[in-house]
Amino acid sequence: MSDVHGNSKFLVGIFDDDDVVLKAVREVKKSGVRIHEVYSPFPIHGLDVALGHPRSRLGIAAFMFALSGTLTALALTFYTEGFDWPMIVGGKDSYSPVIYVPVIFELTVLFCALGMVGTFIVSNGLGPTVKPLMYDLRTTDNKFAMAIDLSKNNIGETDIEQILKRSGAAEVNVKQF
């Protein structure tokens, strides 16, 4: 992931418990330390709010993609059956939107799902050739890591280490990228 550039030195607090790390985020923030990010093996509810991450706008993207699917399907059915080669089948109008509802619905869902997942992958900087930025390999297993960018904090390294330990970190490591 491309959220870190150049040489950065991080203090990584390792936590054993999701509830502890959630509480620690608030404590560490209160003591004036700026947290870079928290890494966990599974989603922790409320963590993004505690860290102050803005609400995801993925829903807007999803809606736009869904709308583009609906419009594509409308255009496709209208152009082919109503304009390019009008056909009367079963005595129905050559263009009757009601009978195209299945196709319109399916294309809406298809465009929305693919577009949203594509947006998710791009906006998170994911991709098959992306080298994962792992602060601790155990965060995909059973540990929770709180990364603190030292260059973005005015508090000294040892003080931050103390704050992390006080708020429940089992260990504090240094990680350099």
Binding site: D16, P41, F42, D48, T77, E81, P132
Partner: protein, 476 residues
């Protein structure tokens, strides 16, 4: 603790598992070399697939004349098998989407395998579409492409074209949903991998996932929208499949009850197939602590409900055939129950309506053996349901001079066997190379749904007393 759960809810994870245990127990089968049982099962599946492929090749080479179809019965096993497989393919996305919206925690242990089953079942279903069209090399004619045949387009008023859109959308969205669910687990396996090759392969497929809070928040949001999209999608797919029949004018097909009745039947057979697969998986991979009797019972309840809906639909169809006063419709139904295909009708009635009612007994619902046997019976019954709908509605044409029977040939049977070979080959590959249980999701329910909470939920500090984990520093 942030998770609070009612004490009356039975635990979904037994054995006091920690987060580390979840990773270990589920990753183990991906990392080790294949077991003997797996190798034997895989060999059999591949042999069956090769035999089926040879027969399928002959079917295409010679033409559909090798099947037992005739002028009156123009659809038989091909569409029966297609509808049967598509129906089975309904449980996976139902579990992952509808149960996610309903916040059913038991879905976490079975959704991965059920979604995989869905994808493979839809592939099998699509293979019958290809087969019954007879000329797979012109399958692209189903798509609205500009072409040299004048500017003729596909007929968007035809339910067969709706089917093309419904099945391909369903397949794509299910695949995407499944893959998105796999990414965090693939990252787990990547970070545990010892060999360079597996680190590279799992690394590429995990797309550089690192589990940051921001990514997780977006991920959960995306899963919720995908679930919201997939819920009407699941219902639409079998609705549209049923319209292949319901929009026609054939007595026995031309009924408005088809969409809800087909959807209920699809969920019914899909859950039965999920039961068969997870009952084997939990024993072979020793996952009894994750796929518990509670999970099996929950799925049996769904089977009982949908089976009863199907039963009511059968009776309603019969009543309406009489009540409509249409003699062709009435004859079609009397012929089903008492005509030359009476045995298929009563096999369907017994397997779908009568035997699943045994699940009203709690002991049977919680019995692994009973569940397995009854689930097999459900799938036999659901195959007969489609056979009854298709063949018995067709074989007595309006003119008695056109009446005919359908007799399956070796190729009808072999092409059906082909789909089993395909399905099990794919499923066995999945069960070896991908985690069969969603590790990340199971970890989220450890605290709220464990039988007994481990002393340290993380799993490293085993035996170390951390009564209130907030005071970790005191322990140190």
């Amino acid at each position: 603790m942030s998770h609070v759960t009612s004490a009356v809810r039975p635990p979904l994870v037994t054995g006091g598992k920690t987060y580390a245990d979840v990773t270990e127990d589920i990753s183990k089968q991906v990392e080790g070399s294949p077991t003997r049982e797996w190798t034997i099962a895989f060999t059999i599946a591949v042999v069956v697939l090769l035999y089926g492929t040879a027969c399928l090749f002959w079917t295409w080479w010679e033409g559909l004349g090798v099947w037992g179809l005739n002028k009156t019965v123009g659809w038989a096993w091909d569409i029966t098998n297609f509808v049967w497989w598509v129906g089975i393919g309904h449980a996976g996305t139902l579990i992952s989407a509808i149960l996610l919206l309903f916040r059913q925690k038991w879905r976490t242990a079975v959704n991965r395998a059920a979604e995989a089953m869905t994808i493979f079942a839809v592939i099998c279903a699509a293979s019958f579409i290809m087969m019954h069209a007879g000329r797979p090399w012109v399958a692209y004619w189903c798509l609205p492409l500009p072409n040299t045949l004048g500017s003729l387009w596909v007929n968007f008023k035809s339910p067969l074209v709706w089917d093309v859109f419904a099945i391909s959308t369903y397949f794509t969205v299910s695949l995407v949903f499944w893959y998105m669910g796999l990414i965090p687990d693939l990252a787990t396996i990547r970070d545990r991998a010892r060999s360079k090759v597996s680190r590279y392969i799992y690394g590429a497929f995990s797309l550089g996932w690192n589990g940051s809070a921001k990514t997780w928040a977006r991920y959960e949001y995306m899963s919720l929208i995908l679930a919201g999209l997939s819920t009407p999608l699941v219902l639409s797919v079998h609705t549209i499949v049923s319209m292949d029949f319901a929009t026609s004018v054939i007595p026995g097909w031309h009924t408005t009850i088809f969409p809800p009745y087909f959807v209920a039947g699809a969920i019914f057979s899909g859950f039965a197939m999920v039961q068969n697969l997870v009952l084997i998986i939990r024993v072979v991979f020793k996952l009894e602590d994750y796929i518990t009797v509670e999970h099996i019972e929950s799925m049996n309840k769904v089977i009982t409900l949908t089976g009863s809906i199907v039963g009511v639909a059968y009776l309603t169809e019969f009543f309406i055939a009489w009540y409509s006063g249409v003699e062709f419709e009435a004859y079609a139904f009397i012929n089903r129950a008492t005509g030359p295909y009476w045995w298929a009708y009563w096999a369907m009635m017994t397997c779908n309506v009568i035997t699943p009612q045994l699940f009203w007994s709690r002991a049977i619902r919680r019995s692994v053996v009973w569940t397995f046997v009854l689930s097999v019976i459900v799938n036999i019954g659901m195959w007969f349901e489609r056979f009854v709908i298709i063949v018995t509605s067709l074989h007595r044409d309006y003119l008695p001079s056109s009446w005919a029977m359908f007799h399956p040939t070796l190729f009808d049977i072999s092409d059906y066997i082909f789909s089993f070979g395909l399905f099990f080959t794919l499923f066995l590959l999945f069960s070896k190379f991908l985690p069969v249980v969603n590790m990340a999701e199971v970890k989220t329910i450890i605290k709220s749904s464990s039988e007994k909470l481990p002393i340290s939920v993380s799993g490293v500090a085993k035996g170390e007393r951390v009564a209130n984990p907030t005071f970790n520093k005191d322990v140190e």
